[in-house]
Symmetry: C2
Subunit: 405 residues, 2 copies
């Protein structure tokens, strides 16, 4: 299918994760994304498992894009980027505050080139303030946003990190949404504008509902850690781990039946939601002991029959074989002429009942130099000259077997 953003052109100067995932989401929905890379390439090309010159980290953050690799510090390189800017709808960058100005691509400069452009900036902290100059890694934002406090170990009181780069990825989603909203506005009003996203702001906003909600009424705050005393809903069965939860009376009764403990239904300690909350430690112990006597598959089937929300806890390699994942066609192998068979989940949202399949994987560095320059009017001899003058760079696959499909 053609995605809802087809026809949109994006010039993407971002590196690492927050920006690249944001523009990948736009590409998933049909936008044409031109990724501009410095001569050394996006740092993510060097992270993760490598196969024929492609790293898993780059592969998973840059599908559906084209790559233009050039030296922007050379006047000819900067000129190419400026010419491209005049042809696009969206310009995105995630350098530290001040850097893009020094590169000669400030908001003012780019807006002069293309007055209705949407110029999006992603940063850790915004443009001003005591931290704005700092280098940002994901744990820094987890530390300052409350995420590491939310994840605190309940026994030791030690803060913990979420073990995926949640701040980068959540900021990517927020950025993609905000750019899309700006595109909508531009369609209605003809006006571009600036989209500013700071990871710190995104994460505080993300965590606030529920994880910090008890701080809402000024003067009547309650410690948000209080409501988080309950242990994880992780249970050990005879042969694995599962999660299960019962909130309403009906769900609790279903859980008792599933566990062959109908005696608990009439137990006064657990008869109402209030009593179940009051005696949660005992309830937890009994539930946990009972679950440990069952094989996962049998018990999960019984939970299902009784309308109790439950699931096996899968490890990451086990996900691919789960029947719901298969039903949803999340993983359709992609056969790539260079990389061979590649696994990648399809874009999550389904528009008009037609799942978007991934047509183009991430590019090798500079894959599209010639095509992109040709489109904006460069002649073959000029391109050759720019190659020879070390303005343009590329780095094809590390094997000459086959070509990409």
């Amino acid at each position: 299918m053609t995605g809802p953003l087809s026809g949109v052109r994006v010039l993407d100067l971002t590196t690492m994760v927050s920006g690249p995932i944001a523009t990948m989401l736009l590409a998933d929905q049909g936008a044409e994304v031109i990724k501009v890379e410095a001569p050394g390439g996006d740092y993510m090309r060097r992270v993760g498992v490598k196969h024929r010159g492609m790293s898993t980290s780059f592969l998973t953050c840059n599908r559906g894009k084209r790559s233009l690799c050039l030296d922007i510090k050379r006047p000819e390189g900067l000129e190419i980027v400026k010419q491209l800017a005049s042809t696009v709808d969206v310009f995105v960058q995630n350098f530290r505050p001040g850097a893009i100005q020094r590169m000669g691509l400030s908001r003012e400069t780019v807006s002069d080139i293309r007055p209705d452009i949407i110029y999006a900036s992603i940063s850790g902290f915004g443009d001003t303030g005591p931290c704005s100059h700092q280098r940002v890694y994901d744990p820094v934002i987890q530390a300052l946003s409350g995420m590491a406090d939310v994840q605190m170990d309940q026994h030791s009181g030690l803060p913990r990190m979420v073990r995926t780069i949640i701040c980068d990825k959540t900021s990517a989603l927020a950025t993609a949404q905000s750019i899309t909203a700006a595109l909508f506005r531009r369609e209605r009003t003809g006006k571009g504008g600036h989209v500013g996203v700071a990871m710190l702001d995104v994460m505080i906003g993300f965590l606030w509902p529920e994880a910090m909600a008890s701080l809402s009424f000024i003067g009547k705050e309650e410690d948000p850690a209080h409501s988080q005393r309950s242990p994880d809903l992780v249970f050990k069965s005879q042969d694995g781990y599962l999660t299960a939860g019962a909130i309403s009376d009906l769900e609790w009764e279903g859980m008792c039946r599933a566990l062959d403990r109908t005696d608990l239904i009439e137990d006064p300690r657990f008869k109402t939601a209030a009593e179940r909350a009051h005696n949660s430690a005992e309830r937890r112990q009994i539930t946990s002991d009972e679950i440990s006597n069952w094989p996962s598959a049998e018990l999960l089937a019984r939970f299902d029959t009784e309308g109790v929300a439950a699931a096996p806890i899968l490890n990451r390699t086990g996900i691919m074989d789960h029947p719901q994942v298969i039903e949803n066609r999340i993983f359709q192998p992609i056969e790539d002429g260079v990389l061979g068979p590649v696994r990648m989940p399809r874009p999550a949202t389904i528009f008009d009942d037609q799942a978007t399949s991934i047509s183009t994987l991430a590019p090798f560095k500079g894959d599209d130099n010639t095509a992109i320059l040709t489109e904006i009017g460069y002649q073959p001899e000029q391109i050759t000259q720019l190659n020879n003058a070390n303005v343009l760079f590329d780095s094809p696959p590390t094997t000459d077997q086959g070509s990409r499909s």
Copy 2:
């Protein structure tokens, strides 16, 4: 400021978290959101700390919306919703598959009423498959998507949950982005359509980059748990916790200087990135021991001087006082005529340098019954009749002091 989505009207039949946060994000950007509640009200009105009849859970997921509370099972109630559907751009629902059809508001019915409507459905698993009928709580999706595996305890091997409802909230962001993309497409083509979001699909797509990337090359998979052996970047100082990380040579040298351990710069165990990775356990131990000798503030200032990414690990009540949070004006107290002073982070994205302030807090149940019905042509006597006939419901604040500003 008027947000980029101003002029958009949304009819929101969602409850709990995933749908309400999605439509709240649209409201933040200027959309008019009419929240339709069943007579008992959104379940979230009963969760969390309550003040004058408003719960923190409802407050944090429903700002900027209007509330219409009616019995949709009554023909008069359904008729009102259908009339409203003819006036809106977007219809959103997050009932379990099948339920919205039984209510008489299927995609076909709603599209007949308003052919260019964007009809968005959020579910746990999609419409078909073995789990699609199941009740979904956040831990169920954490279990099936790999999130609980990512968060596994490194010592015990026990799966862990992320202790915020990450699946609900990430799905909300994905839904808001997808609806916005569909609005853009409609603006260009005149066509509405269906937006389908399944939480399972969203979370697998969210986790894939980096947390599952090593499964990308089919036949050359590496266990994604391998790359996660390193401990959290959480360090105990003399007086608190902090995070700090050094990846490049320059950052490592800066860290050594900040810790007054310039002797380590020349230490062959840590001289290159490869050696630092190889001897990471020793490096971690030395770093951890050294950090424990410093007060946080002093050491963080030294890290800052040396260009080392670092931050104090704040607890949630401490966030509000951090100078960067103050600089970013994330928390501007909102004075509400009924609720008194309320704390809530402003919408994260800043459009055109003008942060959006929160103008309207979450509504009390049925707050806007009369206004909304009047707008679609109901006469005062009809509204009185619908109130008396128990088609309309409301539940004003539990105090009569003052009125909302």
